[in-house]
Symmetry: C2
């Protein structure tokens, strides 16, 4: 399979009760409403506050625990884990993180990681891509050109481009980052669009990456992708300098 179906799947899955509660709690946690070390209310109290059964609430907590956000133990309660335990790259967690107000430093950190991973991925893709990958990427570029990032179709094409590139690395772990990366791109581009109606044309940057991969030139592909991400970061309104070091 050259490239997965990549059907939209943006945020229209009709969450169940436990899902919505997990989401609410998750957002409250990642946004700092609860702090690491804090204890959630007991199951009976919490389930009453949310006006749901204990079952539904417990399943929500189970989800959060699976993502490393909390740790539930008898006699002690459900405690918020330190941030180091959080699966920050989990698509849901990422989504919740940028749900409310995107933290400046966090956004920069994400671009930093994307630069590390996607640049190297572009290098790998240059040597491993199949003809089908190339075709899919070309189609994605045409989609971007045709619809622009102002439309849903255009944004989807952008996501497809990056997803196909990661898929071309043939590395399952890198591919598994696709969901998270997609979430990141979605929120940041949406954030970009919200403030300014797009000042730069992102197509040339993407085209350079595509050409390098087509030519099977790893170094050039890596370089081009690094520039693409750096430009995207610059284009994001909140590209401020990193905050001072944490307490050290």
């Amino acid at each position: 399979m050259p490239v997965p179906p990549t059907s939209g799947a943006t945020r229209t899955k009709a969450l169940r009760l436990h899902g919505t509660i997990a989401r609410k709690l998750g957002i409250a946690i990642v946004s700092g409403d609860y702090k690491p070390g804090d204890l959630l209310d007991g199951e009976i109290a919490s389930s009453e506050q949310f006006a749901v059964s204990r079952t539904a609430y417990r399943e929500a907590v189970r989800i959060l625990a699976a993502k490393g956000l909390v740790d539930a133990r008898p006699k002690v309660g459900t405690r918020i884990n330190p941030q180091t335990k959080w699966n920050l790259l989990d698509p849901d967690v990422l989504d919740w993180t940028f749900e409310s107000e995107p933290d400046l430093n966090l956004l920069n950190s994400l671009f930093e990681l994307r630069n590390m991973v996607e640049s190297a991925a572009a290098g790998l893709a240059a040597t491993r891509r199949s003809a089908a990958h190339l075709k899919a990427m070309r189609a994605a570029l045409e989609g971007m050109s045709k619809h622009t990032l102002a439309t849903e179709a255009g944004r989807q094409a952008d996501l497809d481009f990056h997803a196909t590139l990661l898929d071309a690395t043939d590395n399952p772990f890198i591919i598994s980052l696709t969901n998270g990366v997609s979430a990141a791109i979605s929120t940041t581009t949406m954030f970009k669009q919200r403030t300014r109606p797009l000042r730069r044309d992102p197509l040339p940057d993407h085209l350079k990456v595509f050409e390098a991969i087509a030519e099977r030139d790893p170094g050039k592909a890596q370089q081009a992708m690094s520039e693409l991400i750096e430009l995207a970061r610059m284009d994001t309104p909140i590209s401020r300098r990193r905050k001072g070091r944490r307490a050290g």
Copy 2:
């Protein structure tokens, strides 16, 4: 906080019923016992097979769904997701993946990703590390030297070294990879030890990384870390060439 406590926490948490079932099912899924697209048995049947209540089974499924392994929907059942949806970097999923027989290609893919991320991380750490980080890394190196990787204490020191390095990047997303990376290192080193009693001394490689970071030399640090990981990969018995491309 210069470096998190990093208290062992290897595999002694006394899993509950839902945790053990999630683990069993998770291993069965990642090991290919169930294939993507397959349907699990219904809740009643499954819970009876495991000899637990539906509640416990459902919470187990909830965990797997949170990690992207399955997708449960009314009327259709609980279906195994395509591998692209799996959160392969989730510590638990990683642990389950290498529980049974480490897949050759998968192991190589993991080293590949580690090389990408940790090398770049070493570069960042070189410019951002605090004195406390340096101290912690020095202590870890002494621990490795003193106990060797043949002992639990030595392996823990190895993990501490890598964890501290990632922590020094001051990038939450990179730091959140620590858990997964630790799981990866644990399994691979254990795998190494099992077959051969350690042929190379890993200390010099680590020392070079440390020195570069101490000197605040990003390029040198990145290079040294890349060599370290590559050597570790070479030292892992199954360092075979990647398999041919997937169907495409």
